[in-house]
Each structure stands twice: as C-alpha cells, then as structure tokens.
Symmetry: C2
DNA sequence: ACCTGAACACCGTTCAAGT
DNA sequence: ACCTGAACACCGTTCAAGT
C-alpha cells in the first residue's frame, strides 16, 4: 500500500526525500498524524535536521502540495501542449487531476485549502506552471483572453468541489464509529425526524462517482463553449480598462 | 469587527458559549490560532474546564462546523418549506449558504473538509436537518427520488467548490508576503516563463465573484432541470434494486 | 455537577555546538 | 554544509482533588 520512500534512509537527506516521506505518511496515516518529529523518525534523523530542507511545518505542508500538484506532469494522458481540440485538452486535464486526487485522497484537503501564493492561483491547479499551461493552451486553441480566464475559473471551481467531495467520501472511513456496522451511516437514523432521508437511503448510499464526474464535466464544457460564443467576458464588464500595474 | 461573545465571561459556561467563543477566535485570528487554551483564556477559565462541554479538540472543531451550518436557519431569505417553485427554493438556499460562508471565510475550510458523520452527508450542507430539508423540499415540488438526490449532489459540489475558492481569495491576505506591495501577486512574476499569465494579469486579477456565482448557479439549475426531464436517474442505472440494509 | 492544579506526553522551533 | 543535544514555549489530555 504505497510504500514509497519511507522506512529507511539511504544516502543523504534532500528536499525531495523529505517531502516524499511526509506525503507517504499523510497517505497512510492521515493529516493529523503528520508531525515533523515523525517525518524525521522515518528518515532516522532528528527533527531539527529537516529545517535545512524545509521552512518549518508550514513549509512542509506547502511542499507536500507542490509534490502532489507536480505529479500531474508525469501523467502521460495529460497534454501540456494541446494536440486535439480544446474539449480533448480540458477533458484529459480533468481526468488527470482526478487521478492525482484519488491517488492522495488524504492529502487533497491540503491542496484545496492551503492559501495559494497569489489570489488568482486557484486550487487544485495551484502552480504558476499549470495556470500558464491552462490559459496558454486555450489561447492557442483560439479562445479569447476573456474566455480563457473564464474557463480557468469555471474549471477550477468544478474540479475543487467535485474532487473534494469524492476524496472526502473515500477518506471518512477513519471515524469514531462502530467498526462492525455497515459504513452507510443509516443504522442509527431517526426515521421519524428525517423521513425523506430514510426513504431515499438506498439512493443516497449509492455511489456513481465516476459517471457523475463525467456528466458534470460534460456540462461544464458545454457551459464554457456557450460562454465562449458570447461577445464579451463575464457578463457586462465595467472596468476592462487594461491598466497594467506592477513594475 | 465581529466582537461576538468573547472578551468576558458573564454567568456560567455552556456549550453554546464555548463554541461561539471558538468561532469568534477563528473569525478574527484564523484557524491556526485556535487552541483549547486560548479559548479557555477568553472565557477566563482553565483549558480543562472545556471538556465538560466539548469532546476535546476534535469535538470543538465539529461544534464550530455545527454552529456555522446551523446559522443558515436564522437566514430569513432561506425557506425551509418551499413557497415558490424549485428554482426559487434552490436559489434562496444557495445565496443563504454563500452569505454564511462569507460571514466566516476563515472557518469555511473547516466546513469543507471535516469528515462528515456519514458518507452521503455532503459539505457544505452537512447536517441531517439540511439534507432532509433539501430532498424533502424537492420531493414536495414534484422531483422524483432520483432527481432529488441528483440535485443534492450537484448542488453541494457546486457550492463547495465555488465558495471555498471565494472565501479562500478573501482569507489569503495573511501570507508571508511583502506588506507594502499591491496584493495582486504579479509584482515578482517571471514574464519570460509565464508570458500568458503576464498578458492576462489584469483579467486574472479582476474579481467578479458575485456575477460568476450567479452565472454558475443559473447554469447549475438548468442542468438540474435537464436531468429532471430525463427518464431515470444518473445515467443507465444498473443496481437500483431497493434492498434496504441496516436494522 | 462543574471547575481546577498538577502532571504527562508530545509538539514546533531556537541556538550553540559538533563534524 | 549539514546534522545534533539541550532547552524552551506551547499544546492536548489525564486524573485526583476541590467546591
């Protein structure tokens, strides 16, 4: 079960090794189990040694997010340079992000909630590289500037909400519940107070995660296509005056 | 700025007072600042006294989520019994959840990521009460069982992704960045490596949160309406055999 | 029934010291 | 340049003791 790097140190420490060990720990034992001292233990090293490679606990968390997000680049299905049409481009990207999330369900809340380094970098596509890949890809596929930015926002909202719920449904087996119950959570339901829930229990318990993802993605792409067809960007725009601030 | 209850204890402790003090602390100082000892300090009490009212730190976090989610019931715009059509019902609910989220942007990640008590209870509508309200409301408005459950899933995914990003964009002013820069985050951008981002900087920085919410909600309702019109629930269903497990 | 004092295990982080 | 030992402040949680 995802042994990864942890378990014994070979050679010297390095940033990548520290981050991978931390991610392994989260994957196995969950976020609350992640402490500097435990990561250090795995590496047969003292906790203070980690400070050479990461900027404290906060820096470690950022590094884990970095590792998860960068993993997307190793996915052969995801195309950094769009080859087909834009629907193909975004579909491959969406499934790639989903695979990454499902690979690390316990780390995904971190990807979702760590404050990004700039307000316009949106989880789960939270790196300059992926923002550039996304918008430049769409620009090359004849999206207007407005449409590309609109698509980036809609795409990230969709992925974030959807995947956070899907990974969450995986994760929450680790609860203080009774261990010998079926994990549906309907066993102790008060059917008097919640009659509709009781009636819909089999439907609610059913899990069609992948089909729902496919359906919702399809509708999202339709939405992006529709918006792309309209004249200007997000509704009536009042302040598109392109005054570049900064340097 | 949202003084709330904290600052001095009048009378005896109680669960509500403990939770409200904790929520105030998160609203003001952020999640990392939340410790049992600090909550106790605010109440002029020792940390151990809290254990009478909450089940440790984990219980405190769950209680905060409870408080935020329950706040929705006090929103006069939100109708627990649907009065108009289903679009009105869901629109009021959506804006109500959004108001709640924007009231507590720093607590919203908690609402989003705390493991729910059952896998089919989906943030941010994460209480039996709200699940019941949602599905029974739609059932009364002539939604089929399948359509009501489908709508619940689509609605929660949408709200979660959208509001987590909107509240996140508010929160992340508390970063280790230089304090005298404009907070756009474009100042130190490497325009060579990220030319499209640089070109789209003004568009990316622009914030149309409310219009985007309105747009996306509109499309979501269309999607629900479309799905409602189709024959069965989520695509071709293979296992709708209603075998009620549990007691 | 409710709150406290003392204690414990564990945590992140520092700093001077080692190699 | 990299790692460590010792120390510190702070944390959650326990338990017996107070009222």
């Amino acid at each position: 079960m995802a042994e990864g790097v942890a378990g014994g140190r070979r050679g010297k420490l390095n940033r990548r090794l520290v981050l991978q060990t931390a991610l392994d720990l989260v994957d196995k034992a969950g976020l609350p189990a992640l402490t500097l001292r435990r990561v250090a233990d795995q590496l047969h090293v003292e906790a203070m040694s980690l400070y050479t490679w990461i900027d404290g606990r906060e820096g470690l968390l950022d590094g884990i997010v970095e590792l998860v997000v960068d993993q997307l680049e190793d996915d052969p299905e995801v195309l950094v340079e769009p080859a087909g049409d834009w629907r193909d481009f975004l579909t491959r990207l969406a499934y790639g992000v989903r695979r990454t999330a499902l690979d690390h369900p316990k780390a995904f809340p971190l990807v979702a909630t760590r404050p990004p380094s700039a307000p316009w970098i949106r989880p789960p596509l939270r790196s300059l590289r992926w923002v550039e890949t996304f918008v430049s890809g769409l620009r090359r596929l004849d999206f207007s500037e407005d449409a590309a930015v609109y698509a980036y926002r809609a795409f990230t909202s969709f992925l974030l909400g959807y995947l956070l719920l899907e990974t969450g449904a995986i994760t929450e087996a680790a609860l203080p519940g009774l261990p010998d119950q079926p994990p549906d959570g309907f066993a102790d339901l008060d059917a008097e107070r919640y009659p509709t829930i009781a009636a819909l229990a089999p439907l609610l318990a059913d899990n069609h995660a992948e089909e729902e993802f496919t359906d919702a993605l399809h509708d999202l792409l339709d939405r992006i296509e529709r918006q792309r067809g309209t004249a200007d960007g997000v509704r009536q725009v009042d302040s598109w005056t392109p005054d570049l601030d900064g340097s």
